[in-house]
């Protein structure tokens, strides 16, 4: 199989080709330090503030449309741009000294004060502009959930998010109009498509972007110490924050079959490299009770890069997806070389950031059983802030009632132990019991034996446990038709 040794992507209509670069160099470093394109800012270097937001466009699987998404350039490694178009705040600004409709709206609505977060907001707004032609307040909030502004209080930025459509330019410039076809751009990107895999070497560091699962499996088996890179929303921080040297990196995002989300007769099968943005709508369609948790899961730029596979393989005890996926008996498809095996997510975690993966083995896919019509499935997230926060407690429930008796109850929690884990005592306390408040109180008492949470910056141990008990109570009330509204849905309605 032939190998390419150059990264190619489009910037401002030109193909940029780079073959001599540290593969863990971030897109932000490349922009600011190598190109001196300083419009894109570094605010935190961990994907939490949005000052570094850029937009990446790529051709969809059918080859007939562009997928346009905002990402955090501060934690995105440069080689992951291969085959894509990079759009920065400079790309939007017309050459004639005028302003882009979004920029015009931000000026007119007084949407900038200190201005440091502003290019990032402009780019998140650009992603919204290209994907939604009439967003309401909630869609605007969601689109901007990954951008922090410390000056304005956001009112003026929300006003700009509406005014930008009023300013929309006539004509055929794809950049200045909402939506719109982009045949030229698609053609240019298609010309960059590669059949071979990308392989870079820089002062002993190696970066592989295989194009098939079998190739990936083979490379990883030969390099079991390599770092598997999917969305990079955690691995990026190993470099930017921990200053780790990653000698060998294997990127999964170039493997089309691993980016797919398919629904079979029994399962939703999510390739381990599928982004959360691609995977979540399908999961929520089958499991509407997970909607609010997934809405609160990180932010759009993180979900646009981050993967469900990464969230699971990374195995953080505060990963948001796992409590829910655990209780619905999600399976992981693991692969090592040519050997595949399946394992229940529930059996996957052994200890703090220790999982069942063997050397050279990786998560290839996540298999979520289709919803059982008789089951109530719900996930709750408890954190200091609604958007873009990490859970202090996260719960998942799977409940089957027969004549108001508990035929089956599964509950898993994050944030309460060294791994996401099932609440087996609480489950046992409810099994076969009448689904009523008294039974729930017994289960709450049993929870004390399930978890001994620690205190940290997100919450104290005793209150985490109390919150978990109250979340279980809340789940019960919801099944009784009470408390169906959260403060968030209530606030949105009014």
């Amino acid at each position: 199989m032939s190998k390419s040794a150059a990264i190619r992507f489009v910037l401002d209509g030109e193909v940029v080709e780079i073959n001599d670069v540290d593969p863990t160099r971030t897109v932000l470093q490349f922009l600011r330090e190598d190109l001196r394109r300083t419009g894109t800012k570094e605010g935190c270097a961990e994907g939490d503030c949005g000052a570094c937001t850029v937009v990446v466009a790529e051709v969809n699987r059918d080859g007939d449309d562009l997928v346009v998404r905002a990402i955090n350039s501060c934690i995105q490694f440069l080689p992951t741009l291969d085959g894509k178009e990079l759009i920065t705040v400079e790309s939007l600004t017309p050459n004639d000294g005028s302003l882009h409709p979004i920029q015009r709206a931000m000026v007119d609505e007084h949407g900038s004060q200190c201005g440091f977060c502003t290019p990032g907001f402009v780019m998140s707004l650009f992603a919204l502009y290209k994907t939604n032609d009439n967003p309401g307040r909630q869609e605007i909030d969601d689109a901007l959930a990954g951008n922090l502004c410390r000056c304005t209080g956001y009112r003026s930025i929300i006003a700009a998010a509406k005014a930008m459509y009023v300013n929309a330019a006539q004509g055929d410039d794809w950049l200045t109009q909402p939506g719109g076809a982009a045949p030229d751009r698609i053609a240019k990107l298609k010309a960059l498509r590669r059949d071979d895999s990308l392989e870079l070497e820089y002062h002993g560091r190696r970066f592989y972007a295989p194009t098939s699962v079998s190739e990936l499996a083979s490379i990883y088996k030969q390099n079991p110490d390599a770092t598997i890179l999917a969305g990079g929303t955690d691995v990026g921080l190993w470099v930017t924050k921990q200053h780790r040297d990653l000698e060998t990196v294997i990127y999964t995002g170039g493997v089309p079959e691993m980016c797919d989300v398919r629904v079979s007769k029994s399962h939703i099968e999510i390739g381990a490299a599928a982004t959360l943005t691609d995977a979540v709508p399908i999961i929520v369609e089958h499991y509407p009770g997970l909607e609010e948790m997934f809405r609160r899961f990180a932010s759009p730029p993180i979900r646009n890069a981050g993967t469900l596979g990464g969230n699971i393989a990374n195995g953080s005890p505060i990963g948001d997806s796992m409590p829910a996926l655990m209780v619905i008996d999600t399976l992981l498809l693991l692969r090592c070389g040519d050997v595949e095996r399946e394992i229940l997510l529930d059996d996957f975690y052994l200890d703090y950031q220790v999982n069942d993966l063997q050397a050279g083995e990786f998560v290839a896919a996540i298999k979520i059983p289709l919803a059982d019509e008789n089951a109530i499935v719900r996930s709750q997230k408890w954190s200091k802030r609604f958007d873009q926060d990490i859970s202090a407690v996260c719960t998942g429930y799977h409940l089957v009632l027969q004549d108001n008796e508990v035929a089956s109850f599964r509950m898993a929690c994050g944030g309460l132990a060294t791994t996401v884990k099932r609440a087996s005592n609480a489950e046992a306390a409810l099994h076969g019991k009448v689904w009523n408040e008294a039974s729930i109180e017994h289960a709450c008492e049993a929870l004390v034996n399930d978890f001994r949470p620690i205190s940290d910056m997100r919450a104290s141990g005793d209150i985490r446990l109390r919150a978990c008990q109250n979340l279980l109570r809340r789940f019960f009330f919801e099944t009784q038709g009470d408390g169906l509204e959260t403060v968030y849905s209530y606030g949105r309605q009014r």
Binding site: G39, D48, R150, H243, D387
Partner: protein
Amino acid sequence: MDASVRLPARHDSAVGKPLPHDSAHLHVTGLAAYIDDLPEPRDLLHLAVGMSEVAHARVTSIDLAQVRAISGVVDVCVAEDITGDNNYGAIVADDPIFATGLVEYVGQPVFAVAAETVDAARKAARLANIQYEELEPILDPLTAVEKSSFVLPSETLSRGDPQSALNSAPHRLARRVSLGGQDQFYLEGHIAMAIPQEDGCVLVHSSTQHPDQVQSMVARATQRSAKDVTVICRRMGGAFGGKESQAALIACIAAVAVDKTGRACKLRLDRDDDMIMTGKRHDFVIDYDVGFDDTGRILGVDFEFASRCGMSADLSGPVNDRAMFHCDNAYFLENVRVLSHRCKTNTVSNTAFRGFGGPQGMFAIEYVIEDIARALGKDPLEIRRRNFYGIDERNVTQYQQTVEDNIIDEIFDQLTASSDYQARREEIRAFNSSSSILKRGISITPVKFGISFTSTILNQAGALVHVYKDGTVQLNHGGTEMGQGLYIKVAQIVADELKIGVDRIRIMAADTSKVPNASATAASSGADMNGMAAKRAAAKIRTRLTEFAARHFSVAEADIDFHDGHVTVGDRQLEFAELVQLAWADRVSLSAAGFYKTPKINYDRDTFSGRPFFYFAYGAAVTEVVVDMLTGENRILRVDILHDCGDSLNPAVDLGQVEGGYVQGAGWLTSEELWWNDSGELGTHAPSTYKIPTCSDLAPDFRVELMQSVANREDTIYRSKAVAEPPLMLALSVFHAIRDAIATSDTAMPDLHAPATPEAILRAIEAASHE
């Protein structure tokens, strides 16, 4: 319903127009240059700081071998490399640049690495092997009080006879409440770039609110005189007080490294390092003891404040003084004592943050007011009105300044009507009686905030205006731009003075070589002081032009009129540029400096009495929230604000300040929590763990108005009022709305501490259900 705003009608002059921020078109295109965006000198070195890993220890040895071994590292600077004073403390010299012998907080700078790349410097800075002999740390204010560990002596401000009033009062309440600090979380972290110049001079680009102090401290640390140090700052990516005193640390390190290496050096702090290394808003423990009558009138109140100052004094003296000055908020306290402890702890030295102690003092009295209302079963609104300052009586503050401009009753009248407060309170009561999980709450709180630096000498400002032969203008003044819109406001003032368009004025960076000895851009006074100084500078040039025109065209000065970029001289009409050209040819000086010192203020720090403030700014907010009684999670549902900016210089800028201040204050009191572990390590040092408000946290119904037709009674610049700090305290209504919501359960007075995180709210509900 959506967010709504109302702007006052436009004036017929550049002043009062809602012009966009002068850099808005640069912000949105990414072309606004912050210091890290400036072209880098050819041989620039990048710095990173090696920090103490323990809270309190003697340093027994520092081994830097591994630091130096990293590829790209050029040099390392330690305390011994500082040729001048190893200190950047401006008021009290207790702030070492690099620790020597003793480290007093986790994150204290010990050395700096200079390397060819940012990555190499940051990587190397972690590799020092520092040996410590650990000492017992003091990690919270109460322990500090217990051990008499203070950065400055405790102070007492009193009036009347609070003890007798307390003893004889029909009702009495006492409570201890804790109030968290707050990180400034400016989006642009601390940064300085120092560039060696000829003949021993140095140029420092510093992200600072106080270039003059950076100049002084760099000079002191590097054995230079002030004339050999130039400090420039065109703009900051936010500051909020955080870049007032502590920017000097960053600049001093860069300048020291310049002298050591002979090369230009840039220090840009990583976000985590910034949050660990530099100071924040002081957290307070507040004890109150209040006596009141059946109507809720306060008869006597005793406050004891213990604030976390951290390891050094920094600005903690004036911050805590301002807390004492603002423990009245808008209320007349006839008999009052405030005892203020300035606690020395082994944590980062706390510093200025929007409000500067005022918010903490106001938080204290608002808690008292709320408790009185709840104890008497009355609406807190009634208790607030009962205790407001009077107009002709009950109008002297506890520091003996007469409140001459009180408009808080008018503001409350208007706002309670426009917000439909009473009807909503009834509706909320009905809702809560039928809803067990979700409870709503509402609160209206006032703001009265004193404007001026309490240190009288700082109330001075300078400006320098140049008019060029083509009739365009360069505007310099001592103020710095951190996003607050100061520069456009001052440009509007100069445009109005010369009757030219704002587009003919180039706004220049704050530069110590243009305007010397400038005070910090702080205390909300930037526009008041620099605006007046710039107006005076421009007025001098206009006077010269008038005198010249009268002479040249032989007309009376009274017959000369500047308007719309033109000058009418008798029956002649000239363009402004034409007159300037003629004046230049006649050898008239077209450059002038202006100076302003705030009048009327005088105050004796020894007795805490006099007139520290030129005037007061007022406002009020009504906030309604919903709280989940099982999870403690909450949302702001509706906000109504009425705020007083006097005759606004730029209502769009002022509106932005009011909105942003409120949201920032709401963050302080709800989701923003600083958390240290038992070793004194800050656990919340990045946006992943420290949660400022996001877009969705803005209330779905957000109504903000600037007070109409309320010219400042004092002769301020165009009768405007300072904005900046005062609106932050509008968010006290958020905290009390939450408390109102959870008070509908088993207790009237939940023991809620700030910030009201879901955890704090659950604890308050828990405690209540066990009462």
